[in-house]
Symmetry: C2
Subunit: 499 residues, 2 copies
């Protein structure tokens, strides 16, 4: 059931389709270190484009980047009880600072004489080391707010890993801010949710998202409450694409960070933290890709247009010259182009090669077509090749890249809308999530208790992805009765099986 | 003997001057983790500017970025004998993947049941994990060259650390390339040395450098030979600012990376690796800064111009409005500006605050001066404030930023030239390096043996920084007699005490 390029179709095996696509599209690969991935140049160029756009948005909203140590003293973890509970079970522990020859001289072992007095943890997230630092940075209300972001690698020793979606090491940004009031911290967490994460997902990734609040059981370890964005995958599951946490005064109290207010009183600081990671790449792949490989929104694509010159001998020289000239014109307009002039590969091979890797448009420069004054232009998300007069290729490609960005979003939104179900009876709810499939997003009423939430998860494997802040329809925000217990509910919440 | 801002003068205590400047200029700070630094926003903005410029140059020379795992299996280290010798003694070793409660329940300990089968090393550099990957990527000559770079954090458990100059964790880029021939790999290593590192040091950092080859004793662990750039500090020592290594076939053989040549033969691949790190920031600080604090070349400065509006009440409103208007005009020209409108700080405090942090130009917007149609403009590297008509401030500042970039380089070059000594007798040589001071760069003849090199190091603490490729004077490249042994020498080499 695999396609001619050797990846399974989505229908035959969605999980294998994803796993094989990631590797064959040169987006990521397995490494010899359990759960850690290699990101080859093509995948990393995608991440760089995402980083650049996000970094600009993070800076536009008033934040600055900084860098904090990779290693965190074990004792710091003990300071915030929920936080340590959340991370101690899956962390990489550094215990020695030297290797030495084993007794038989044949291999290297951690040198027993170089054991650390206190073990160090590779950061799974940096709240503790950062709040230990903020204690030094914050004395007066005039030192606030602190609006800092960090781009870093982090490590969580997950049991089951999947490329991009859940890896032991991943790359991310983590924002850590400090404020004088609860309200200011909440506004900050919501600014990130709406003006950075949600905007980035929809306008750059072309992925529509629900913005919402996590239930208590899904709240970040150490937070007062967590906001999130949730996207839908093509196999009808939910994927959490970003989180923004209001940390209350939890970390300020754990690390004793107080400031002197304008009135001269000592007060604890309020905090937020927020992050998105290389998991966004997994989200992106799942949103748009097809059985031929990766489909990437033009704004983020490492290569937006590829030219394939055809022919032999003099004919090939001519088509290559035309391809290079057109490519140069597009490059001058800021478009990321490539001319695939590999001598030993066929045009058919090249077409499939770039389809797999998510190049948005392909221009075939054929000798006969060129003589007729036309070139064949294909858009990655459309089946038909269009014939375009040579002189208008640059304008055509430019316009189609913009159109594709919008079309991908429209298509993803339509797909999501077709797979949102408003369900009010338990039988229908259970049936919707029956079997191994995803089941889409179910907007249902919930009585607000952790017991009901857990019961529903046990019965259906569906969990509450968020209590939405933005409603598809106004009536979704109206009161009703819990789909399981019949008890009163304030609004519909989003149920789904989740990645 | 400390200046009025509380940092020692360079003359009174150069080491303390550096250490205190780094912290007080908000460039870096100590962390609770031994040898690991915190880079606050101001210092990180500087690093981002350096990264951006370097990254552009690395890409312009045909390289792509990628990412490889933070952790390296211990067994990989065993594969290249020199390499393991160079790094095993100073590496952070991960031995457990979980913390658990201690027997008394009071603290966390590495869970004995979660000990790793094979310890993992936090990368001190990535040759081993990358060459293990290249084995997969390389089959045919058509897969070559591979031109890959990685931006990453690395860890070397150094005994004595200093902010930026030598830290346990540091940020860097590491390039790793693979080639079919020895000559192509050498050309690659030299391209990086000349067209990236040397160019960046001189044109962006305004720091003149010697480009050269390392002697065998200073060659990278696992390399065939190492190229380097060496700069001079104000205390007359050498600082190695970047290295570019020809790895020969050492790693290809250690990891069995062979390719099929065009003739169908199996051949081992040739390799290079090259890196610059946050150590460049230390180099930059040492090159230009003064007793008032950090002096930064405009091309890299996080803030190029600061406006200080003065006066009270309505007067202050007016000067602030003028400052903001001029700042907006400069910003539109791509210049990094700040208006310091803090209400509670005096203009004198602000001037010193920004001097310490290396802002290139300050514009004082005084009420009386404004009425007279003039503003006071100060350049960080000059003592005199200039009065400039308000209408020409934008042009003046723009021109002076360009001039300052050139002037810093000229000044650093003149300083270096004044401290280069061509010495041909042992007495004079020994005297030049006598005492605790630096001694500058001595261009002297050397007989090419490791014994003489080591003997000179023992006697004077001066080492051979490089065998230069670029000569200050052509005659420096002519043969002569070793300054210690009198044996024949091919050219003068650079001796200095080194950081």
């Amino acid at each position: 059931m695999s396609s001619n390029l050797g990846i399974p179709t989505r229908e035959s095996n969605y999980a294998d389709w994803y796993n094989e696509l990631v590797v064959k599209a040169d987006l990521a690969d397995y490494s010899p270190v359990r759960g850690c991935m290699i990101i080859p140049p093509h995948g990393f160029a995608l991440w760089e484009n995402m980083q650049r756009a996000l970094d600009d948005m993070i800076k536009e909203t008033g934040h600055q980047n900084a860098y904090f140590p990779l290693l965190i003293p074990k004792s710091f973890f003990d300071k915030e009880a929920d936080h340590v509970e959340g991370f101690a079970k899956e962390c990489a522990v550094v215990t020695h600072h030297r290797l030495t020859k084993s007794a038989d001289g044949k291999s290297l072992i951690p040198d027993p004489e170089a054991e650390l007095e206190e073990p160090l943890i590779i950061r799974p997230t940096s709240e503790t080391i950062i709040w230990n630092t903020y204690k030094k940075w914050i004395q007066s209300y005039r030192d606030l707010p602190i609006l800092v972001n960090q781009w870093a690698n982090v490590m969580r020793w997950e049991l089951r890993t999947r490329l991009f979606l859940r890896t032991a090491e991943f790359l991310w940004q983590e924002g850590h801010t400090a404020h004088t009031t609860y309200e200011e911290a909440d506004a900050e967490a919501l600014t990130i949710l709406h003006d950075v994460y949600s905007k980035f997902a929809e306008e750059w990734m072309a992925v529509p998202v629900f913005r919402g609040i996590k239930t208590k059981s899904e709240t970040f370890a150490g937070a007062s409450h967590s906001y999130c964005i949730e996207a839908m995958t093509q196999d009808l599951r939910a994927i959490q694409a970003g989180t923004s946490h209001h940390l209350g005064q939890n970390f300020a109290k754990a690390f004793d960070v107080q400031y002197q207010s304008a009135e001269g009183k000592l007060e604890y600081v309020y905090a937020t933290s927020w992050g998105v990671s290389t998991r966004l790449i997994g989200t992106l792949i799942m949103a748009h890709s097809d059985d031929k490989g990766f489909v990437c929104p033009p704004k983020l694509a490492p290569i937006q247009v590829v030219f394939v010159p055809m022919g032999k001998a003099e004919g090939l020289e001519q088509t290559t010259a035309v391809a290079k000239d057109l490519a140069a014109q597009l490059k001058a307009k800021g478009i990321r182009v490539k001319v695939d002039d590999r001598a030993k590969e066929s045009p058919g091979f090249k077409a499939k090669h770039w389809e797999m890797r998510g190049v948005c448009m392909r221009v075939d420069v054929g000798g006969r077509e060129l003589e007729a004054g036309e070139l064949g232009v294909s858009r990655r998300d459309e089946d038909e090749k269009q014939m375009v007069t040579t002189g208008s290729v640059v304008d055509h490609v430019t316009a189609q890249l913009a159109a594709m960005q919008g079309d991908l979003f429209t298509k993803a939104l339509a797909f999501r809308e077709a797979n949102i179900h408003r369900i009010d009876t338990w039988d229908a709810f259970a049936k919707q999530f029956d079997g191994e499939g995803g089941g889409g997003f179910v907007l249902a009423h919930w009585d607000g208790t952790a017991e009901t939430e857990e019961k529903i998860r046990e019965l259906t494997k569906a969990s509450i992805r968020c209590i939405p802040l933005n409603h598809e329809k106004p009536e979704d925000g109206q009161p009703g009765k819990c789909v399981l217990t019949g008890a009163p509910s304030q609004q519909r919440v989003v149920f789904a099986k989740a990645y």
